[in-house]
Amino acid sequence: MKFAYYPGCSGKGTSVEYEISTKAVCSALGIYLQELADWSCCGSTPAHATDTLLSAALSARNLSLAAEAMKQSGATKLATPCPSCLANLKTARHHMANQEFRRKVDKLLDSPCPPLGPKGEEPLPETYSILQLLVEDYGLENIAAKVTRPLKGLKIAPYYGCLLSRPAPIMQFDDPENPTSMDRLLEALGAEVVPFPLKTECCGAAMGIPRRDITARLSARLLDAATTFGADMIAVACPLCHMNLDLRQEQAAKASGVSYDMPVLYFTQLMGIALGLPDSDLALDKLSVSPAAALQKIGKEISA
């Protein structure tokens, strides 16, 4: 399996552990990720909040690079770990089905984007999340077959965040209110998935810098819920969710008056552990809240 790969800016900075573990896991599974040469920022929320056209053009430059790279290498799909990049890249392509819009986007670019076929087929590629490709294309049974260290004894709250499956007509993945793909993945790794009703509740997104009061309050709700449902840790698929729940956990604690010690891991890090990869391949030391104590529970059946 070979995918063109768009890491996104945070993968080279604040979510470097997501990036490292994604690459390690894919390589262990025999999935080849071909990073787009000279990719640029998709503009994230600041671009789409500023203007749809600007946002689409920033994404379109990358979609063009991907189309070219895929033609050369034979990679079948374009993948990204980051839900915010995913939403922007998908939204741009969705809007570009409209010819008038596309003409405007082309005017902002050095050279026009490759066309989008009448049924939405290539060469302008659709983007998929790493989660979706692992669950749907690689397949859960195939992942389960490679597990050497089942996460037995570990209770995990699966937190998807708000972007992965919404808005549904554009994201076209899982259920917008009650997604289950990560639940099933974690189960395939041997973990126990706790019921987590706030799966898609917002963590406060990028409000952390300008309005930390909002982010702290929303993240505290998530940490409270995970605690209430007896989770040993939270699994996430989004760099922003991770930053708000892990790095900003103390800020959330100040807002709610409760202290937390809740490790928050990327699902790819958990996959890596289950696949028996060494810690150094999973960058566990980059996490703010240490998962060491929680990970001790793996393999120890606790009789209550």
Partner: protein, 186 residues
């Protein structure tokens, strides 16, 4: 005179929002589902269903004066729960676009977004330390996230230098053309 005109139904505004968002605003029947699920409701001055209503009424002033669109985190919960399949989050996005064009960008979030985009414009990729520095300069909030430094720095997660890509000039040109295009439109 003003007080009468303020409430006049601004049809052009309704059409502008509908066209740019691609949503049919008139189908909103004010059920309040969007507001019920909105995580930012507690900090909004106008709830998201009220924004929808004000747009239906063509009450441009009320919509553009509201702080809510600038506090919205684009989580799309409203869109997921609207029984009439209105992409409400997209409408909020559209209100921001119109607000920006009309110079309503006085909020803290605007300083953050502008700082972010400025680093993309010059480096081709976003540059976290640069965003923080620009944001602090714009807002004077020099204490922003200082409490995170002891957690963050030992992890070496924030590169000190930006990732300058070969195509940074190409990205810069996207911004330049976009700005030029806007000036023609105005």
């Amino acid at each position: 005179m003003d007080s009468i005109n303020l409430r006049a139904r601004d049809e052009a505004f309704i059409r502008e929002v509908e066209k740019e968002s691609g949503q049919n605003i008139s189908t909103c029947y004010q059920c309040g589902n969007c507001t019920a699920g909105c995580p930012c409701g507690p900090v909004y001055d106008l709830q998201v269903n009220q924004i929808m209503r004000a747009i239906q009424l063509g009450d441009k002033k009320t919509v553009l004066e509201a702080a809510s669109p600038w506090l919205c985190v684009s989580c799309s919960t409203c869109s997921a729960r609207c029984p009439n399949d209105i992409d409400v989050a997209r409408v909020m996005d559209t209100v921001r676009h119109i607000g920006r064009r009309e110079g309503k960008t006085k909020y803290v979030i605007n300083a953050f977004w502008d700082s972010f985009l400025q680093t993309v414009r010059f480096c081709g990729r976003s540059y976290e330390l640069g965003i923080m520095a620009l944001f602090m300069l714009r807002t004077g909030r020099f204490y922003t996230d200082l409490d995170l430094a002891p957690r963050m720095l030992p992890k070496k997660k924030m590169p000190y230098l930006p990732h300058l890509i070969r195509g940074k000039a190409a990205v810069s040109r996207i911004f330049k053309r976009f700005n030029d295009m806007q000036q023609y439109d105005d």
